[in-house]
Amino acid sequence: MTVLVVIEHDRGTLAPASLEALAAALRLDPHVEALTIGATADALAPELAAHGAAVVHQVHAAVLSDYGPEAWGEVVAQAVRVLRPTVVLACGTDRGNEVMAQAAARLDLPMVANCVEIDAATWTITRVRWGGSLLEQCTLSAATKLVTFAHHSHEATPSVAAGAVVSLVVELDPSLSRTVVTERVERTAGVTLATAPLVVGGGRAVGSAEGFAPLEALAARLGGVVGCSRAVTNNGWRNHTDQVGQTGTRIAPDLYIACGISGAIQHWVGAMASKQILAINTDPEANMVTKADYAVIGDLHTVVPAITAEIIRRNG
């Protein structure tokens, strides 16, 4: 079995998800090969070797100066034709899934997205549906198996391998540049919803955009940020960038304080990686309350300001 891992990087900066993909690949077979796309990724070879890549295939071409879904997908398709791997693996990030789908379309092969478990003896795969709320078992029959692993389903593991560098020659049609990134606006540094150590979430019960002021005040006191449910974004009270859930952001703070949120499965799937959850809700039977570690039963409009007042009373 040859397992080829597609390495995700951004102008040479390795996506940590790629190390998860290498870890997932090593569970399938001890001999793992990696594919890096574009000259900017050449310098990644030692780090990939340190995570188990016995061979690193490097690809160079003018259109690979920045990310482009079609160009990257075509590279993977050509790598499959030349190297004939048994399995091609990537991490199920936005780019990982996009590139593998492009490769699958070009090769006319199936592609199974967001797997958590593979039985390589029978090619029975467990994958996530509904953003992780439900699992599916499926079979995959194909000459080359294209799969992505669900992000965060495997941990990056150091595992030293030879890391022999080989260059892989591809012919890329210049027209593939049609979907290469043409402009970028870099993100300004700072705490984001996805990385915040504390999130104060507000749901429909907050009632208005202005109603979030007490939640903002509490979050600011605790060095955190404000998140919300889809009921809130749908009402136009907050921007979609604040939405937690299946079609929003997945959060993983030390503590998530969920205020007036019922805990629908699509919200829960975005919040369940929180280390601790405190639910504030008038309904003791609300899903968010029964699934939380801690709860306060009551009206968020009086409870939240009382918490902030108590913090001020103790700490000034």
């Binding site: 699992l135 599916e136 995959l140 049609r178 990134v181 079609t247 306060v296 108590e310």
Partner: protein, 255 residues
């Protein structure tokens, strides 16, 4: 400007997803149906594009005959035409779905003219295969960018914006294009009464779906392990505040 948007009918579960006894499907006995939020935004984007540039919008779905409901919902907020590829089951595998949609698009375009923009959701809400739009675009030989959170049109070119880890990326594309849309690109409008009435009269074109089974076949659905928790109730109402702050100190969040 001719715009097509592809949507999928999916159940809308609440606190938990229950399965049928044979594990083959989500138990929808007590559930309403919807389209994914990503696709709702794609529908809104299609309506806005035609409002800006003139032309005509079409919605297409492959699904059971009941998916008529999702087509008419799209029509109720302003989509002009609808196409139903009716199948016996709730869904087809992603390769088969994509080939049926691509061939239906070719048929519709042969009679009505080419679509300048074909919109998809970033991923379907239920199966999340992350590929149907990409496969359709490849079959049609058109450029495709997924995860789009901004669309600007200028004559025959499209600027598509998307959010990546490092920041915002811009793609400059020439029509015809295929785009996968993410929730947050816009705030979908609600149907008006007039829109609802008009949607009842929209003619739904029936196209027989054609496509070979793909290499990915579902065996069964399985519940994800549920996180069970013994919730500690810290108190009731504002009187619980000291207990909450004790907890914040205990967890090291408040020093």
């Amino acid at each position: 400007m001719r715009v097509l948007v592809c949507v999928k009918r999916v159940p809308a579960p609440g606190a938990k997803i229950n399965l049928t006894a044979d594990g083959q499907a989500v138990d929808t006995a007590y559930l309403a149906f919807t389209t994914s939020p990503h696709e709702e935004c794609a529908v809104e984007a299609a309506v806005q594009l035609v409002e800006q540039s003139g032309g005509e919008s079409t919605v297409l779905t492959l699904g059971p005959t009941q998916a008529d409901e999702q087509l008419r919902y799209a029509a109720s907020i302003g989509i002009n035409k609808a196409v139903l590829l009716s199948i016996e089951t709730a869904e087809w595998d992603p390769q088969r779905t994509a080939s049926a949609i691509a061939s239906a698009i070719r048929d519709v375009e042969a009679t009505d003219g080419a679509f300048d923009i074909v919109l998809f959701g970033n991923e379907s809400a239920d199966s999340g295969n992350f590929q149907v739009g990409v496969r359709v675009a490849h079959a049609l030989g058109r450029p495709m960018v997924n995860g789009v959170k901004g669309i600007e049109i200028d004559a025959s070119s499209v600027r598509a914006r998307r959010e990546a880890d490092a920041g915002v990326e811009v793609y400059s594309l020439q029509m015809p294009v295929v785009l996968g849309v993410k929730e947050g690109i816009n705030l979908p409008r609600y149907p008006t009464l007039k829109g609802r009435l008009a949607s009842k009269k929209v003619e739904v074109a029936q196209v027989a779906p054609v496509g070979e089974r793909g290499g990915q076949q579902m065996i069964t659905l399985v519940q994800a392990a549920e996180q069970v928790s013994q919730t500690i109730v810290l108190g009731h109402g504002p009187e619980a505040a000291p207990a909450v702050v004790d907890l914040l100190e205990e967890l090291g969040i408040l020093k």
